[in-house]
């Protein structure tokens, strides 16, 4: 398939005159990338798999001993790790659902002829262009119970967003929703503008109501692209670290990547943290696969 679409080298070109075949040029471009991937991605991935079966600690001179599945057994029996996973799951659900509702809603509002549409869209995209660390730091100020503008604006008095253990995770998710809804909005807008206008015209002629039109025309046609946005956001939310780490240190917001960071770079339990990283990797792959299966199904329709 790929060879069929590949154009052959123009015989008049400089490269052809130097005796380079199109195959040579292809290799020239691809091989460095593949080497880079192998050295920096594949090799460490396999190497850390090996470490996950040992009691290796990067901070000590002691040799790594093979411990079999001990690390995995310890981790999966640790109630703190399970609570980290439960927190992560809750965070992913709240944060991604919020982003889809807000992002898709804003996209619906923008998907019509309004003045300054381009400007409004650009301004709405600003949050996702900021650095996570910067967003974390200034939302920490916004949430401050003594001088934060959020409590002031909504008349919440001294409501404690981040130091209340039950609220802190929602506060982090809210910040994430603020930051990443524009991403969902952008993809949804692309999907919405691709819906053929004549379908709406036909629906109008048939006197279909707005709700019926939305559920039978808009949503099914936008669904594949919306699914892609959801896959991206779920993967990102699952790996979230910076926002939660900067905003608060409540145990109720200790998502799995924070626990992993502490285990790997504060406690230096290198073998154990490799095992935890693999557990997380397997989970992310499994969840993504479910989505991809569903995406293919949606596309077939």
């Amino acid at each position: 398939m790929a060879t069929l679409t590949m154009t052959t080298l123009d015989p008049q070109s400089k490269a052809a005159r130097r005796g380079l075949s199109d195959l040579a040029i292809r290799n020239l471009f691809i091989i460095p990338t593949i080497i880079f991937l192998i050295v920096f991605n594949i090799f460490p991935l396999l190497y850390s798999l090996g470490y996950s079966f040992t009691d290796f600690r990067a901070s000590s001179n002691a040799p790594a001993n093979f411990v079999g599945l001990d690390n995995y057994r310890t981790l999966l029996n640790d109630p703190f790790i399970w609570s980290n996973f439960a927190i992560t799951a809750k965070y992913v659900i709240v944060s991604v659902a919020g982003q889809v509702v807000v992002g898709f809603g804003v996209a619906l509002l923008l998907n019509r002829e309004i003045p300054f549409k381009g400007l409004i869209t650009t301004l709405l995209l600003l949050p996702m262009m900021l650095s996570m660390a910067v967003v974390g730091l200034f939302w920490k100020l916004l949430y401050d119970p003594s001088f934060g503008i959020i409590n002031y604006a909504f008349g919440l008095g001294r409501f404690e967003w981040l130091s209340n253990p039950d609220m802190a995770l929602y506060a982090v998710a809210l910040t994430d929703i603020w930051m990443w809804s524009p991403f969902v909005m952008l993809l949804s807008l692309a999907g919405l503008s691709a819906v053929p206008k004549h379908l709406y015209e036909a629906a109008a002629i048939d006197r279909a109501g707005p709700i019926y039109t939305f559920f039978r025309i808009t949503l099914p046609l936008v669904a594949p692209i919306l699914m892609i946005a959801i896959i991206f956001r779920t993967m990102e939310a699952f790996k979230t670290f910076d926002l939660a780490y900067i905003l608060t240190s409540q145990p109720t917001t200790e998502v799995i990547s924070i626990r992993l960071y502490k285990m790997a770079f504060q406690e230096w339990q290198t073998g154990m943290s490799c095992a935890l990283a693999y557990i997380v990797l397997i989970m992310v792959i499994a969840i993504t696969n479910i989505y991809v299966k569903y995406l293919n199904k949606v596309k077939e329709r």
Partner: protein, 436 residues
């Protein structure tokens, strides 16, 4: 043409030779980003003027300090020649061979006597009571308290306090008095609160804060020689100390759940709290009117005593160690010989550094130099510290995991929390074969 090439090569060789000899005269000390590091840079500039050896103090924010240091050490990197490392790193860094053994240097210069005993025990020696030394006490530090003198000395407040509690409002001598004063000044409707304490659980903030209570209540974290923790970390005194810390949390400003040295100084500068816990190293900022509008009315006191008269404080501060992967170890030792001289230690104190030299600490001149030096001197002879074993980071995280939800959200009871912590620590020590 050939001559020209030869000349060029010779010139190049000469340049290289010169530049390497210049590099050999440079030393890099790694430390965290805070005022004492700037004072140290000023001090080492004088070393350069004397000897021609350029010394650079490289810094990184506190939050990265541990990670960055150990990443470099574990990679056996030679980027730094010396590090001013935290006391609890001694075990990890010495057992892994990251630090040069300074025992000979220590004994030769009789530093066990020259430096204050507590600083030798906690900044330099590992394992406990082994007579092996890995660092030279450099920046002494401990936790003390600042308070609002104007609030304490207000006649109306004094009368009200006496009427309510039956004794005079003054600097607290015990934790019980401190609790009363915190309760007395806790007035959320006036945006005034009783007390500021450490609650940050991302490194050792909260644990240090709790240690102040535990040690003064006569408790210990465990037996540092036998690794026994049962009945020690969950002793009756420790349960009471933890309950007291939890009670004090109730008198802190709103949102006081991730606070460390920055927030605790803000509590004084922003008129939030009557009393605030902090390391002495952060007190210079409180006596400076540029950084504290209340500088004139800010006072200081040492950590109060517990119910049985014990009075201890959590140790901060660091010792300076030579890194075994450094190419300039000899030059580093020469620097340390200069650093421990009496006159240099005196100069170090003048610049704002907290010397660990017993002679300087005991001098009248030092004790009268600032409003808090006397409290610092008193404290430095009664400090205790956290575990310094190689697995200290796991112990620290376990303590944070257990204690934090109790202090900030009242989950469980102090007894349950400490019993669970004892079990965690026991399991960790078993894992590393410290106990059977």
């Amino acid at each position: 043409m050939r001559n020209r090439i030869t000349g060029l090569v010779a010139g190049l060789g000469l340049t290289l030779a010169c530049s390497t000899s210049v590099f050999a005269q440079e030393l890099t000390i790694f430390w965290a980003e805070w005022d004492p590091a700037n004072y140290l840079q000023e001090l080492v500039n004088e070393y350069e003027a004397e000897t021609g050896v350029k010394v650079t103090v490289e810094t990184t924010p506190w939050s990265d300090f541990q990670t960055k240091t150990f990443t470099e050490l574990n990679a056996r990197g030679s980027a730094y020649d010396m590090v001013v490392g935290d006391s609890q790193w001694l075990g990890a860094a010495s057992e892994a061979g990251h630090y040069v053994d300074l025992t000979e240097f220590f004994n030769k210069h009789n530093l066990g006597e020259v430096m204050a005993p507590a600083t030798v025990k906690y900044y330099a020696e590992y394992p406990a009571s082994s007579g092996k030394y890995w660092a030279i006490p450099a920046e002494g530090d401990a936790v003390g308290w600042s308070y609002r003198k104007d609030w304490f000395e207000d006649p109306k407040e004094m009368a009200d306090f006496k009427a309510k509690y039956g004794y005079d409002l003054d600097v607290p001598q015990t934790w019980a008095q401190m609790r009363d004063i915190a309760e007395f000044f806790h007035r959320p409707d006036q945006n005034r609160y009783g007390i500021a304490i450490y609650t940050d659980n991302s490194y050792d903030g909260l644990v240090m804060g709790v240690e102040n209570a535990i040690f003064s209540y006569g408790g210990e974290l465990g037996n540092y020689e036998t690794y026994e923790v049962d009945g020690i970390i969950n002793s009756e005194q420790n349960v009471k100390a933890l309950e007291m810390y939890r009670e004090l949390y109730g008198f802190t400003p709103p949102g006081w759940a991730k606070t460390f040295f920055v927030e605790n100084n803000q509590a004084i500068t922003e008129n939030l709290a009557a009393m605030s816990m902090n390391y002495f190293a952060f007190f210079p900022a409180l006596t400076n009117e540029a950084s504290n509008p209340n500088a004139k009315v800010t006072g200081f006191f040492a950590n109060p005593a517990g119910p049985d008269g014990h009075q201890f404080a959590a140790l901060g501060g660091q010792g300076i160690s030579v890194i075994s992967y450094s190419d300039n170890q000899e030059e580093s030792m020469k620097f340390l010989e200069w650093f421990i001289k009496d006159e240099v230690q005196k100069r170090w104190a003048e610049l704002g550094g907290y010397t660990a030299s017993a002679a300087v600490l005991e001098s009248e001149e030092f004790q009268n130099a600032t409003p808090y030096n006397k409290a610092f001197y008193e404290t430095m002879f009664k400090v205790k510290d956290f575990w310094a074993t190689p697995e200290y980071a796991e112990l620290l995280i376990q303590m944070n995991q257990r204690v934090y939800p109790y202090i900030t959200a009242g989950q469980g009871s102090a007894k349950e929390v400490l019993d669970a912590l004892a079990a965690d620590w026991n399991a960790t020590f078993k894992k590393y074969n410290r106990v059977k």
